[in-house]
Symmetry: C2
Subunit: 178 residues, 2 copies
Amino acid sequence: MTALDVRSVERQSACSIQATLDIVGDRWTLLILRDLFRGVRRFSAMQHDLGIARNMLADRLSRLTDADVVAKVPYQHRPVRYDYVLTPKGLDLSNSLLALMAWGDRWCHDGDAPTVLVHADCGTPLEIATRCPACDEPVSPTRIRSLAGHSDPPPGGEFAAAGAIQANRQHPTNGGDL
Amino acid sequence: MTALDVRSVERQSACSIQATLDIVGDRWTLLILRDLFRGVRRFSAMQHDLGIARNMLADRLSRLTDADVVAKVPYQHRPVRYDYVLTPKGLDLSNSLLALMAWGDRWCHDGDAPTVLVHADCGTPLEIATRCPACDEPVSPTRIRSLAGHSDPPPGGEFAAAGAIQANRQHPTNGGDL
DNA sequence: GGAGTCAGTTTCGGTTTGCAACTGACTCCT
DNA sequence: AGGAGTCAGTTGCAAACCGAAACTGACTCC
């Protein structure tokens, strides 16, 4: 709690993305969460794995615990030492992390294949997708519309890029129906 | 290109999340992308909608175009003025944005209901989920494993929170099968 | 009882951010 | 055609932020 706690009040989140970013929208925070998801639980382990400055790590962890995304569970007393573990709220971020990771896999191949996530039960590489529970099928970004919520509706008023460059460019591995 | 272009080289992304964050891992960048997805295309419109400083916006947009996530399309000449539109690479970020938004919807309700995304074809609210293409079913975070890729495998070595607090706490609206 | 470890905190200088003002390059209106 | 207005983008500068190293406690181990 050394530095500041301005960030959480600075902008009244009219949008859920903004609200989310108020909590995890930070380079280090997302990386810390990735480590947490991979089972890294100790302060020192994260510090070593990420190469983050200790004050930064301490600050981010305390923000995350304040936000109830992470909880501290003592694993020894006397000098109280904690494991940092994900709460249900934190666990629920897995889709977001996965989506980010999947995008990196598709577009940031620097040559060597990165981490692949597979289904523990069958070993198949996983995919993450937007689905319509009613139609029971994947939904492409152009078929998404947003309803209400924003106090100041922008010209377009809808999610899904009215004028996005659809496919008329030379791009590697375009994701198909996106 | 005023400020710097250090960030892209600073850390050799052993992990796709890191690679992704090198490009979009920034408070403003994600918010800009959200606007782009909603069809906001003009510099001034984004500046007004986000309340971002113009130099910041100019810097972020030029990074995004450098990264080929966004493209500039002139809509007038003489004073050349551009529309900023998503490339296929940028459009492909929709899942990530949606996942982040969905999380905010679930956990950051400050009272008023936020933006709801629906299927344009049938009006049903959408969901975003990790799925196993083989088993053809949703996969919970605890059933995800990662394969290789990281040069320095952490103690746990796997995605999905070995010791996460599973459900033994008082939390609102826990996501069910998570 | 001295050395070592671990989780944090403090200090402090360099970097980044963002407000305000400024620069071009038009377009519009009269 | 000339002044007013608009828009994208720069520059200057103060404030906020970041992070390496050193420091503080509170142990544990030998």
